[in-house]
Symmetry: C2
Subunit: 232 residues, 2 copies
C-alpha cells in the first residue's frame, strides 16, 4: 500500500474524479518526470506564476533563484504556493469540437515555502539538484564558492496536499460522432532531447550521465535517474 | 515599430533585464508557439495554478473548461490572473553548478478574466480554437449542439501587461571555470510529435492539417499555422 495524500477541499478534483489520484507513487512519478514546474504565489492579492526548475526529496520540493529576485523575495518569508507540473502526451483529434482534447499528466502540489539560507544546507541541496539531473556530476564540477552560494536562495516546500490528474486512453465518441465521416486519432507528443552541442573548449569527453539524454524522451532519462542510477 | 506593452511594477523584470522583452512581436511569437499555459488565480487568498489549453486573438487570450468546474467557477466572475507560457529549449551543462541552467522562452501575461457565455460567441471562439490548431477542421466536424455549448464556459482575458523572458546563447564561464577540466555543452530540447495513431473506425484519410504535425517540433507547425495557413 502506497502512502496517500488525503484530498481536501483545496486539492480534491471535483470534475471527472476518475482522472484523479492522490497516492504518492502516482504523484511522485509525475513530479520525477519533469524538469520545470510553475509556481503560483500571491503578491498584493494578485497571482503570479513563475516557471522554474525544481527537484524533489521525499515529500519536499525545492527550487532556487537569485536572492535579489522577485520570486525569492516574495517567497522567502514563507507563503502558500501551488506548484504545478504538467506533461502533454498527445493531441486528441476527434469527430466533434467538444471531443477534441489533450492527453496529459499533471500534479498540483500545495504547501508553504521555507527559505533555505544556511550555506551548508544550500550546498547539499544544490548538489542533490545537479546529481538528480546528471548523476555523479556534482563532484566533477568546479566547487561552488561562498559568494556564489550567497547570491542564490533555495526555497523548500513540503507537500501538504497534492492531486494528480491523468488523461489518456480512448478517444471520446459522443452521440452523433460514431458515424460522422471525419478522421480521428491521436498525435503523441513528448519532450525530446537532441544531439548534444559540445563546447569547443572541452578537453574531456562527454560523461555518460549527459550522453544518456541524447535522442531520447527527456522524462525517460529523468525517471531512470530518479529510480536509482548506477554509474558502474 | 511593433507595439509594446509598457512594463509596470508588476510586469517588469528586475533581475537580468537583458533577457526581457515587452514588444508584441516577441510576446505573441512565444504565445503562438504554445499549446498549454499555466493560469494562476487566487481563491480564498491562496494561489492555484491550472494547466490548460489556450488560444490567442490579438491581445486577447482564451481558454475554456467545464462550466461546473472549479477553475471556471473561480474565474467567471472576473478575477486577476497571471497566464504563463514556457518553452524549455535546452539543458545547459556547465563547468560549475551555479552556471548550469536552462535555455528557455517564457511569457507572463496579466489581465482580468471575463466569462463568455453567449452561445454564438462561444461557438465562434471554439471554432477559432480548433482552426488555430488544425486549420480548416471546424467545418469538417460534427456540429456542436446547444447542450454541449452550455456545458462549457469560455474565459477571455485581454492582456493588460506582459513580459517575455528569453535565455539562449553561450554557456556562462565563470571565474575558475575556464580551465577546469570538466565537459560542457548544451542538450537541445523540444516538444516533438510522433506518428499519428489513427482510430480503427476511420473511413476518411488523415487531413493535411493533422498530418503536418507528424515527426516535427510541435511549435514549428503551430507557428506556421499562426502565421497564416493556406490549405490550397
Amino acid at each position: 500500500v502506497t502512502a496517500e495524500f488525503s484530498p481536501t477541499e483545496k486539492s480534491r478534483l471535483r470534475r471527472k474524479p476518475q482522472l484523479a489520484a492522490y497516492d504518492e507513487a502516482t504523484i511522485f512519478a509525475i513530479l520525477d518526470a519533469g524538469l520545470i514546474c510553475h509556481v503560483g504565489y500571491v503578491v498584493d492579492g494578485e497571482p503570479l506564476v513563475t516557471p522554474t526548475a525544481y527537484w524533489r526529496e521525499g515529500r519536499r520540493l525545492y527550487w532556487h533563484g537569485a536572492a535579489a529576485g522577485r520570486m525569492i523575495g516574495s517567497q522567502a518569508a514563507g507563503v502558500p504556493v501551488c506548484v504545478t507540473v504538467s506533461h502533454v502526451d498527445g493531441l486528441v483529434v476527434a469527430r466533434s469540437g467538444i471531443a477534441h482534447t489533450l492527453h496529459y499528466r499533471s500534479v498540483m502540489a500545495f504547501g508553504r515555502t521555507v527559505a533555505i539560507t544556511d550555506p551548508d544546507e544550500k550546498r547539499r541541496a544544490m548538489a542533490n539538484f545537479i546529481n538528480r539531473v546528471f548523476p555523479g556530476r556534482w563532484p566533477e564540477l568546479r566547487p561552488v564558492n561562498a559568494a556564489e552560494l550567497a547570491a542564490i536562495t533555495v526555497i523548500g516546500m513540503t507537500i501538504e496536499q497534492a492531486a494528480a490528474k491523468t488523461k489518456g486512453g480512448d478517444i471520446a465518441v459522443l452521440p452523433g460522432d460514431l458515424d460522422y465521416p471525419c478522421w480521428m486519432g491521436v498525435l503523441p507528443i513528448s519532450l525530446t532531447v537532441g544531439q548534444a552541442r559540445p563546447d569547443r573548449r572541452n578537453t574531456t569527453p562527454m560523461p555518460e550521465s549527459v550522453a544518456a539524454y541524447q535522442g531520447v524522451a527527456l522524462e525517460d532519462v529523468l525517471a531512470r535517474y530518479a529510480n536509482g542510477y548506477d554509474p558502474a
